[in-house]
Amino acid sequence: MADQIRVNSLPSNTFRYLKVNDSVLDLSGLSLKKQKDNVNSKIRKAFSQIKTGMGKEIDSLTDEYAKKELVQIKKDEEKTIKISDFESLNGFLFDIDNNSRLNVIFDCSSFNDDCLLGISTKFILKENSKVKLTVVQMLNSKKNFFFDVGAELSKEASFEFLSVVLGGKDSYIGCNIALKGDSSSFKSSTGYIVKAGQSLDMNYVSDQYSKKTKSNIDVSGVLGEKGSKTFRGTIDFKVGASGSTGAETENVLTIGEDIINKSVPLILCGEEDVEGQHGASIGSLSDEILYYMNSRGIDRNTAIKMASYANVMRTASQIEDKQLVEKIEKHIDKSFDGVKNGL
């Protein structure tokens, strides 16, 4: 096993000096055992076609070293699954039949075994099926973390991805959604707080192949002193995606010095009849807002905490698990304990 692997590659490279074309995931110090393949070859073949956001090297790693769990949701079935017990490397394959609904929640708030928690997920969504995937990461500051998603959607299927990242040391999220069926859709919402000594590296890709597909990528977070964040977002309108729309929005609240804040929002377009847009807003709380808050009796620290809370809860409030949402709220509160002038 290699000590380092390349992950989160941009679908279309840009200037090398920016060092955003991909990232490196450090695996040194990990001792992983090869796993026997427990999934039948037909299913394995179907899932092997699916591209994930973190890329091929993560795929090979989890293929070899992660125990795979296959979850099959039958036609017209509705199911909620919550997963909170993990190995160091984990692989999940979700086969979602026509007209079914799956709400799957990965609660990564504690993990004691190793220095890395890695989760790879792949989804096949048949016609008119819906998936809501949630991942919440609140690990301690010694753990590295990755969460990788790949999905392929048939006609009128929809995929929603909520991710909240509040802890860990170096975190990586990759998500590649192939909208292969007409009128299929992808919606993603991410909320994060990245503090000193932490980094968050993201790569979201929406490949829109078919007619009238929709995608929406929304990332909103807080970057504290000495924190590092890289956001890559790609909406790729392929030939044949007529009538499709795609939007990316990024909001970054910066509340400390010595930050590294990189953003690469791409829109790739090979089809005429589409609408794609991107908007980004990066900065600290303006003096006007702080003045307004002060005039209402809210001090600077409270104002920053309120704004940070709003940035994360924009995503967290959509999670369909009340206890987990409360846990997130407490975690945010704790992040600001005794903090002056931001994180």
Partner: protein, 469 residues
């Protein structure tokens, strides 16, 4: 709605006419990039020793630098088939009447002498590898403004100034074609605007690459001193050949304290051209750098004017339009590096793709930790005119301070059927309606140009949209 009109071939006769070169009047170096060719060029130009050594140093860098792993395909460019140096034996003239007839005809058809008479403070005209004409109005020269060819400046009283500034902003290590430029550069202009001098009407350099299978490597060096003000216009064109041509020019701009420079370009290279040009500016305290850029020609373009905002309160403004038609892959945009507090940058780009053309907007905004209270804004609109073309936007931002405001917007879309239908219901033909909408889309760029150049740009849009003017 009626079917969309289809334009098979555009009429570029205004730009595509040419005179054949002959060995009696022209000197042409062997094709390829070798030490011997670089030494020959240096000898031809009677370089000072430091420049000869610099060229050879650049050649080493060129030979040891790899190609970028991003951007359009350049595999059709074979450097072994490119002649790096072609010149008319007549040399440079300061009187238009003394310029060789076929060169004079070429520039007259392009309207350069007329523009000089009507609206320019000075003109430089480069034909293949060398300037053939350079002139500056007497009243402008009397203010101390220097506008001359770079080679003369390098050997005269400005040698030290050239030595201090030449390829310091764009070092040969920047990329492979910057190194190539350093090795074989030829022609181009040197402009110096002294402290406090405001040049009311623009200077213009026009570059014409007439020879087939050749490269043009002109170097433009402009120094606008403290409190001075200049508008410099650059135009370029070439006739079309069935072999690849290369343009790897270099522009270095120094904008002093409280100074202002506007650099406008209308690029209309022929569609066999690889346009791998590098432009960079550095701006001191309270200085302002403005780029206005229209890219219409070339087979492949890599073009990203870069601004280093070095001084506090310095500003950069980029307004650009790119029109990619059949057989074109134009990768354009801008780069900015905020290095000082309270700096501001604004990028506004429009791109249009049709007939299988590929238009890519690529940008980079870097705000260093020292650049507190800086502001950056990027907006990019792309218009797709059919489903066989491509329009990509690849912006990147790297922000290292919490005290900066950065905004970014990008949109990709098509001409609305409703707008075309509305115009057609008022008696306008479909092709004209579409051209009118595209002209409106490009309006934010054309209004930044002097009237004559805005008219030329609108004519180019009409040419691309309708196939005739």
């Amino acid at each position: 709605m009626p079917d969309k009109s289809k334009i098979v071939e555009t009429d570029r006769s205004l730009y595509d006419f040419r005179y054949e070169e002959n060995s009696k009047d022209y000197h042409r170096e062997e094709s390829g990039i070798t030490r011997e060719i670089v030494e020959n060029i240096s000898k031809e130009k009677d370089d000072p020793e430091w420049m000869r050594d610099f060229r050879l140093h650049c050649l080493d860098i060129y030979n040891n630098t790899d190609m970028p792993n991003w951007g359009p395909d350049t595999s059709g460019l074979d450097m072994n088939k490119i002649a790096a140096y072609v010149r008319h034996k007549a040399g440079m003239k300061s009187d238009w009447e003394d310029v060789p007839q076929e060169i004079k005809d070429t520039f007259e058809r392009l309207g350069i002498p007329q523009a000089e008479r009507l609206s320019l403070a000075g003109v430089g005209a480069q034909y293949d590898s060398e300037l053939v004409y350079h002139n500056l109005r007497k009243e402008v020269a009397e203010t101390g403004v220097v506008y001359t060819d770079l080679e003369s400046a390098m050997k005269g009283e400005y040698e030290e100034m050239i030595k201090t500034h030449f390829m310091k902003l764009v070092p040969p290590t920047d990329h492979k074609y910057a190194a190539l430029h350093g090795a074989v550069w030829s022609g181009g202009s040197f402009v110096y605007v002294p402290k406090g001098v405001k040049v009311d009407i623009p200077l213009q350099s026009y570059f014409r690459l007439n020879a087939a299978g050749a490269g043009q490597f002109e170097h433009t060096l402009i120094i606008v001193d403290e409190g001075a003000d200049l508008h410099f216009i650059e135009g370029c064109s070439a006739p079309k050949y069935n072999v690849a041509n290369l343009h790897a020019g270099c522009v270095e701009l120094y904008v002093g304290k409280n100074a202002k420079l506007r650099y406008s370009t209308i690029e209309n290279w022929s569609k066999n051209m690889y346009n791998l040009n590098t432009k960079r500016a550095i701006v001191e305290e309270n200085g302002i750098m403005e780029w206005v850029s229209g890219s219409f020609g070339s087979h492949v373009s890599y073009l990203y004017p870069t601004t280093i905002l070095k001084g506090e309160n310095s500003k950069m403004d980029y307004t650009g339009i790119t029109f990619s038609g059949a057989g074109q892959d134009l990768d354009t945009g801008a780069k900015v590096i905020h290095q000082a507090p309270n700096t501001t940058s604004v990028m506004a780009s429009k791109s249009i793709a049709k007939d299988g053309g590929i238009g890519t907007f690529r940008s980079s905004v870097v705000i260093t930790s020292k650049a507190i209270n800086s502001k950056a804004s990027v907006s990019c609109d792309s218009l797709m005119l059919d489903s066989i073309s491509r329009a990509d936007t690849i912006p990147a931002m790297d922000i290292r301070t919490d005290k900066a405001d950065v905004g970014h917007e990008a949109r990709i879309g098509r001409i609305s059927d409703e707008a075309v239908y509305y115009l057609m219901s008022r008696g306008i033909k479909e092709a004209d309606a579409r051209a009118l909408i595209v002209s409106g889309f490009a309006d934010s760029v054309s209004k930044e140009l002097p009237l004559e150049y805005a008219v030329e740009m609108n004519n180019l849009i009409k040419l691309e949209m309708n196939g005739n003017m």
